[in-house]
Structures are given as structure tokens and as C-alpha cells.
């Protein structure tokens, strides 16, 4: 017995010996030192796979010298749900960083817990940044009970997608650009059955798409919004004051579904659309599989993205067209919202007196010095300016360090904190180029500008409306896809029964809460 006890004691001692050095490591840097204020920033990386700014990044020193701030950076995980987990775990431990990017869903949970601080007083402390980044829509995006709890910076560019059609196919078949849904159907049939690529095979389809859904974009997602837009039911929500509510509850939604069902039944939409992922869809149009699609400007026209299509079809040409008009005169590429990236300040940081330092840091980022340093790096090292003052990756002593080269990308990881979709960024991001095979001049920016002139449905704030619970969401998505695939018969009677069931399962409640929220927050048009 004595021996056994000795063994136990010895082993416990061994465990402690092994563990102690590991435990003790963490406490070394806890002590606060006088000097620069430490600001811990959890940011969303511009290029997630590229890695963080290096430890000797010049920005750290400039920020320390000019603002007396010791900036500690952490890149948030690339996936939004991982970001949420990380932020919420830190919140639970009252260990949120001083300044952090957060999704609105999570912010709505942090505000009632008192873990984030209001930022209304910061706008006037940051005049340059406020003028460029924060308008009234931005301020209201993170407003709860009359106070704004996050700095909503501009996110992705509005209206950056368009309806595209293969003009070379139209020309070959002697067709004109479709303007109505009937004409669109006729063109789809011709693209499917009249061999537009002239290879003698039945290997083309009229329309191409894939299911692209998230909490705010319900099934079938944005790729098919021009079809639903022709019936005035594009997007999850109708945001007009006179007809606010879930589009699925509008009678026109059945008509849009019927058109989509007709496309599927006639086989004039690529039958793989229900199975495609984003990459498959993009590979498919580059392989000439379909002739009409809704696509994003850069995904279509940026040099690397367009190159395979150019190589495969040197005479191929996509043009941006107006959305088709439906029977009642509706037409839309889809709904648009104002995309934002929200940066919140923790209540802990405010308690520690860091709020003014954070304001100074953000204001410096918006200054010319911060804007170019965070956006493109060091002039002469990572970029040069062309005759128009636009940063370009040319005439650099070491091209590997160009802001667009793998070696230079780490120093621009914070650029989403300074970019506001201004002209300089867009010119730099989307330069004109000559395609390798067909020698066409292309510009994703020109494409964007044209896309923005088309008819869109304003739905600003619709992405702040309540989201359905998982069961209701599943019922919604599964039911609609079953109507299209034929698992459920799409008749008016069946549809009404299904809608009744949807309402009973919580759809009516979701609709009512959404409308109430939209009215309360003046989001209706």
C-alpha cells in the first residue's frame, strides 16, 4: 500500500512538472508597461490565405511613432461562422479585443450584454473618415435602441452584377437581345436546341445558374433574380411601404416559380444548376455551356477570370443586357443592399480609456498616408503611381513585392479598413487590359459601370431584418426546390396549401416581425 501511495505521489509530481512550464508561459506578457497604448485589433483579412503583415511591417512603427499606439493584429478566420465562434467565445470570457470586426447578427447579441460600446461620439472625432465612410445608412446599419454600436464601413460594391448574354450566339442564330420574359424564353430555346456554337452537338443550354443562398438571400438565390425580378418578387423581402413583406407570400411568386419550372421542364436551363457549386458554375460558362447568366463584374471580366473563356472562345462575346420585363411590366436584376463591414469597440476598451486612441487610429487610416500604406503598401516598394495618380504594380525594383504579387499581399491585409469603393481603388483594382488570345480591351470597371446603370430593386436594410429559424429555412428551401424538380406538383392549389403550411410553421410570424422591424427602423421605400 505504502509503495502504491508513493507511486501515486511521484506520478502527480511528474504531471505537475510537465504541466507547469506550459502554464507559466502565458503570464509573462500580462503586465502592463507604460508607454504606447496597446490596441488589439481583430480584422478581416483582404486575402485570407496570404498571411498577416510581417512583424517588421513599416506600419507598426509609423503608428507607434505618430499615434503612440502599439498595434496588435489578429486576422479573423476566413469563414463567417468561425469568426462568430471566435468573437462569441471571447465575449463570453469578457476578453473581447479593443477593436474588432463583427457580423451584425453577433453584434445584436453583444449589445444587450453590454460588451460593446456606442460609437456615436466617434464620428465627429474622425472627420476625414466619417466623410468618406459613414453616411446615414451606414450609421443606422448598426443602430440599436437609438444608439450606434458599430462603425459600418463600406463593404462590397453595390449593384456589381449583371445579366449577361452571348452576343456571338445571338448573331449566329440571327436573334436580337431579349427584352421580355417571352423573348427570353425564345432565346433560351434557341440557345439550347439550335446549336449556337456550331459543333453539331446538343451540349448548350439557355440559362446557367447555381443555388446561392444565405441568411438574407433566400432560395434560389441571386443567379435567378432576373427571372423573379420580372414578376416584382426578387429578393427575400419586398421593401416597399405599400407592399412590404416576404416575397414568397405574394401571389406573383407563384408566377415566377411557374416560369422557372417551365425553364426546367423544357430543359432550357442547364440541368446541373441544382448541383453546381460556384466554381462549377464558373467553369461551365468558361466552357461555353450556356448563353445567359447573372454574374459578378470581376468574376466575369477580371483578367485571370476571363482568360480561360478567351482562350476557349476567342470569338466569343458576352454583353450586359437589361433585365427582362414581365407580364406586368416589372424588371430587375435583383435587390441591392448596402454591404458593410462592422467594426465594434469593446466596452472593456472604453473602460480602459482607449476610445480616443481608437478614433485617432481610424482617422489616421483614412488620411492619405494611412490610405495608401494600408491599401497598397509603400510607394516605390509595393506600388508606383501612374500619370493619373492611380497605384499600379509597375516599374518596381522588386516585382515580387508588388501589392498584387504574392510577396506584397501581406502588407495590404488591412486594406478593407481603408477602402470605401472610391475611384482610385476601383481603377487600381480593375485596370484595363488586352486579352491574351482575342486581343480585346477589357475592364472589369467598365463592366461594373454598365451593370450599375441597369434596373435594380432597392432593398437597403433588408439584410438587417430577422432571419428564419433553421427548420423554417429548410422547409422554405426544400419546398421550393421540390416544386421545381417535380417532386411536388406546381399547381395553384398545391402552392396555396404549401404556403398555408409555411405560415403555420412560423412563416407568418417571420413576415410580421420583419415588417414591424422595417417600419420601426424606417427601412421601407
Amino acid at each position: 500500500m505504502k509503495r502504491t501511495c508513493t507511486v501515486c505521489i511521484a506520478l502527480v509530481a511528474l504531471l505537475s512538472l510537465v504541466s507547469l512550464p506550459l502554464f507559466s508561459q502565458g503570464t509573462a506578457d500580462q503586465a502592463k508597461a507604460s508607454g504606447p497604448t496597446t490596441i488589439e485589433l481583430w480584422y478581416g483579412a483582404a486575402i485570407t490565405e496570404a498571411g498577416p503583415p510581417p512583424a517588421d511591417w513599416v506600419g507598426f512603427q509609423i503608428i507607434k511613432d505618430k499615434l503612440n499606439i502599439d498595434l496588435k493584429l489578429t486576422a479573423l478566420p476566413s469563414n463567417e461562422s468561425d469568426q462568430d465562434v471566435k468573437v462569441q467565445a471571447a465575449a463570453a470570457a469578457n476578453n473581447l479585443p479593443d477593436l474588432f470586426m463583427v457580423r451584425r447578427d453577433v453584434l445584436t447579441r453583444l449589445v444587450p450584454q453590454g460588451l460593446v460600446a456606442p460609437v456615436d461620439d466617434l464620428y465627429e472625432k474622425m472627420p476625414i473618415r466619417t466623410a468618406k465612410h459613414y453616411d446615414e445608412v451606414s450609421r443606422s446599419h448598426a443602430r440599436f435602441n437609438g444608439k450606434t454600436y458599430g462603425l459600418a464601413d463600406p463593404g462590397s460594391i453595390n449593384k456589381n452584377e449583371g445579366l449577361l448574354i452571348r452576343k456571338d450566339w445571338l448573331d449566329k442564330l440571327g436573334l436580337s437581345v431579349p427584352k421580355t420574359t417571352d423573348e427570353l424564353l425564345a432565346v433560351m430555346r434557341a440557345f439550347t436546341f439550335n446549336d449556337p456554337d456550331g459543333n453539331g452537338k446538343h451540349d448548350t443550354y439557355g440559362y446557367g445558374a447555381f443555388q446561392e443562398i444565405n441568411n438574407y438571400e433566400a432560395w434560389p438565390g441571386r443567379r435567378l433574380e432576373p427571372i423573379f425580378g420580372a414578376f416584382g418578387v426578387d429578393g427575400t423581402w419586398n421593401m416597399t411601404a405599400s407592399n412590404a413583406g416576404l416575397n414568397i407570400l405574394k401571389p406573383e411568386f407563384f408566377d415566377a416559380m411557374s416560369l422557372l419550372k417551365q425553364m426546367a421542364d423544357e430543359g432550357i436551363i442547364d440541368p446541373n444548376w441544382l448541383a453546381y457549386k460556384k466554381d462549377d458554375f464558373r467553369a461551365a460558362w468558361k466552357q461555353g455551356r450556356f448563353g445567359i447568366m447573372r454574374e459578378q463584374n470581376a468574376a466575369f471580366a477580371a483578367q485571370a477570370n476571363y482568360a480561360p473563356f478567351d482562350k476557349n472562345f476567342p470569338n466569343g462575346e458576352w454583353i450586359i443586357i437589361d433585365p427582362p420585363t414581365g407580364p406586368k411590366g416589372h424588371a430587375s436584376i435583383g435587390p441591392y443592399t448596402a454591404g458593410f463591414r462592422i467594426y465594434a469597440i469593446s466596452a472593456k476598451a472604453v473602460k480602459e480609456g482607449k476610445k480616443d486612441k481608437i478614433a485617432a487610429l481610424l482617422e489616421w487610416m483614412a488620411s492619405d498616408e494611412g490610405y495608401y500604406l494600408l491599401g497598397w503598401g509603400v510607394e516605390g516598394v509595393n506600388y508606383t503611381k501612374d500619370a493619373n495618380g492611380i497605384p499600379v504594380a509597375a516599374n518596381l525594383p522588386n516585382p515580387d513585392l508588388a501589392f498584387s504579387a504574392p510577396g506584397g499581399q501581406t502588407v495590404t491585409q488591412l486594406r478593407n479598413m481603408v477602402f470605401y469603393n472610391g475611384d482610385i481603388e476601383l481603377y487600381a483594382r480593375y485596370p484595363k487590359y488586352i486579352t491574351a488570345t482575342s486581343k480585346k480591351e477589357m475592364s472589369a470597371l467598365d463592366v461594373l459601370r454598365v451593370m450599375q446603370t441597369k434596373k435594380w430593386t432597392p432593398a437597403v436594410g433588408s439584410d438587417t431584418l430577422p432571419i428564419p429559424n433553421a427548420d423554417l429555412k429548410r422547409f422554405y428551401e426544400q419546398g421550393l426546390s421540390e416544386f421545381i424538380t417535380g417532386k411536388r406538383s406546381l399547381t395553384r392549389d398545391n402552392w396555396n396549401k404549401w404556403i398555408d403550411e409555411f405560415k403555420r410553421l412560423g412563416g407568418q410570424d417571420w413576415n410580421d416581425k420583419g415588417v414591424a422591424f422595417a417600419k420601426e427602423n424606417n427601412l421601407l421605400n
Binding site: 507511486v7 506550459l22 502565458g26 498571411g51 478566420p77 476566413s78 477580371a302 480593375y430
Partner: protein
């Protein structure tokens, strides 16, 4: 022919049973099942490998890509990955976590399993209960996070492996193995004057290579693949291991439509994803054949008593 007709010699001769049609059918079914299993395993693996070698100008679908001739393959993705400082750093961090994790886990698990295997240990039943309760009722993410934070382990590689350094499941397997070692061996060592530490070090451990290798492999795989703890506890990006980078790479195509560049230059992003998946699996793929002999023995021995 002569060989075929030879009858087995010896005191007990077995009667050669002619396989029936049912036996043949059963064997055929087993063969088909195994073939299907092989295809299910091999096709995705081959698809990943061929995808990782796919050239940038490749036009075609995934099925066609699997039959791309090797002379059309491109190693651009591997060159880009190995030339990327972030990948090398993450790989190094993963190796540190792997080594630190396996060593720590074995150092903690072996003594605990040994102590629990001693039948005369006072309070042994309660100790077992103490270990099994958290195994059945997991404490959850937030209490674990609070504990790790309070221990000052945030931004320490140890945060990735220390919370899981003793796996109850592994510990119980090892305990069962130790219990299966004949008590007489321990007794004779004690009679020769060995202390308990000496018994463990000189008698038990040399007889337990199989279980140590097996459990070490279990730990190694779990630490190598651990994404969640690294994501949660490592804020310093310089410390992030391979699973985090892998996740970032796998998410990359969603981002690249908004930017004009990829962190991996001209290599196609799909090939980069596949290459990173393949490369991250390589260490474990290499380790398995060396540990296989212990692995089979270890798991079997641990499961049979008496």
C-alpha cells in the same frame, strides 16, 4: 497435381471441405463489396491528386481532369505552396504542436493509465468515475475557453494540445492494456527490489510498445488535424498551424472574385486547394505504414482481457 492431392500429415487431420455455391457467392459478394469500398476511397483521393496537378489553362470538368495525362500535369500549385512563407510557417507550427502534443499527451496518459490499472490503489473506483464523468458530460466551449484564458495559455501553442492532452478514451484503452500484463511480472520485479517507477519504466513500458505507438498515433492525428482549438486560442497569426491556413485556402475562391490577385500567384486556386489538402495529409500517410504493425496489435490487445 501431386501437391494438390497430398493429404495433410499429423495426428489430427483436417477434412478438406469443398466450397459450396453459397460459399462462392459469399466470397464474390465480399470481393465486390471490397472493390466498391476501394473505389469509394480511391476515386476522391485520385481526384484530389490530379486536381492538385491541374494546369492553369485546363478547360474541362473534374471527371475529365482525373484522366489528364501525367505529361500534361503542372507542379505550379506545389511550387507556389512550398514557396509561400505562410505555408512553411504553418507547417512548422503544426509540427511543433504534433511533437509537443504527442510527447505531453503520452507523458500524462501513461502514468495516469498505469495508476488506474493498479487494483490496490485506494479510491480507484472514484478516480475512474472522476475521469469518466467529463468524458460523458462535456464541459462545453465557454468553460474551456475561460479556463485556457485564465491559465494564460492564449497565444501559446500549448493551448492547442494541453486541453486535450489526456483523452479519456485513450487512457481507458491504455489502462485495459496495462491490466492485461501479468501481475507476476510486476511482482517478480518488486521482489528483485524494483521501485514502482522502475516497474513502470523497466517492465511495463518495454512490454507496451504497441499500445504506446497506437495511442501516440491517435493523439498525433487529432493534434495534427486540430483546427478548432487553434482558431479559438491562437490570436497571433504567426502561430497558426496548417489546418487554419488550409481552411483559409479552401475559402479563398470566394474572396478572389473581389480582388485581382491570389496569394499563390498564377497557380489555379482549385489546384492550390487540392495540393494543400494532399500535403497536409502526407505526414500522417507516411507515418501509418511504420506504425501499422503496432497499430493492429495495440488495438487488439487493448480490447481483449483475460
Amino acid at each position: 497435381m501431386e501437391q494438390k492431392n497430398k493429404k495433410p500429415k499429423g495426428r489430427f487431420t483436417s477434412v478438406a471441405v469443398r466450397p459450396t455455391a453459397a460459399d462462392h457467392s459469399f466470397n464474390l459478394a465480399v470481393d465486390i463489396f471490397l472493390m466498391v469500398l476501394l473505389v469509394i476511397i480511391a476515386v476522391p483521393l485520385w481526384s484530389t491528386i490530379t486536381l492538385s496537378f491541374r494546369p492553369n489553362d485546363y478547360i474541362g470538368n473534374n471527371l475529365q481532369g482525373m484522366f489528364l495525362a501525367p505529361w500534361q500535369w503542372s507542379n505550379a500549385a506545389y511550387k507556389a505552396l512550398l514557396g509561400n512563407a505562410g505555408f512553411v510557417l504553418a507547417f512548422g507550427n503544426s509540427v511543433k504542436i504534433l511533437i509537443g502534443g504527442v510527447v505531453t499527451a503520452l507523458l500524462l496518459t501513461i502514468p495516469l493509465a498505469y495508476v488506474l490499472s493498479i487494483h490496490t490503489l485506494p479510491g480507484r473506483r472514484y478516480l475512474n468515475l472522476l475521469i469518466i464523468i467529463p468524458y460523458v458530460f462535456n464541459v462545453g466551449m465557454i468553460p474551456s475557453y475561460l479556463l485556457v484564458t485564465n491559465l494564460g495559455l492564449i497565444d501559446k501553442l500549448a493551448a492547442v494540445f494541453l486541453p486535450g492532452a489526456i483523452s479519456t478514451y485513450n487512457c481507458l484503452i491504455m489502462r485495459s492494456f496495462f491490466e492485461g500484463i501479468p501481475n507476476e511480472l510486476k511482482e517478480s520485479a518488486r521482489i528483485d527490489g524494483a521501485t514502482e517507477i522502475q516497474v513502470l519504466m523497466l517492465v511495463i513500458l518495454p512490454l507496451s510498445k504497441a499500445i504506446i505507438m497506437t495511442i501516440g498515433l491517435f493523439y498525433g492525428v487529432s493534434f495534427w488535424n486540430d483546427f478548432f482549438h487553434a482558431m479559438l486560442y491562437l490570436n497571433n497569426n504567426q502561430l497558426q498551424p496548417l489546418p487554419i491556413l488550409l481552411r483559409n485556402i479552401l475559402m479563398a475562391s470566394g474572396m478572389n472574385e473581389y480582388v485581382e490577385v491570389s496569394a499563390f500567384g498564377d497557380a489555379p486556386i482549385a489546384a492550390i486547394k487540392a495540393a494543400s489538402v494532399f500535403m497536409s495529409a502526407i505526414p500522417m500517410v507516411i507515418a501509418y505504414p511504420f506504425i501499422q504493425k503496432y497499430f493492429t496489435k495495440g488495438t487488439l490487445l487493448g480490447s481483449v482481457k483475460g
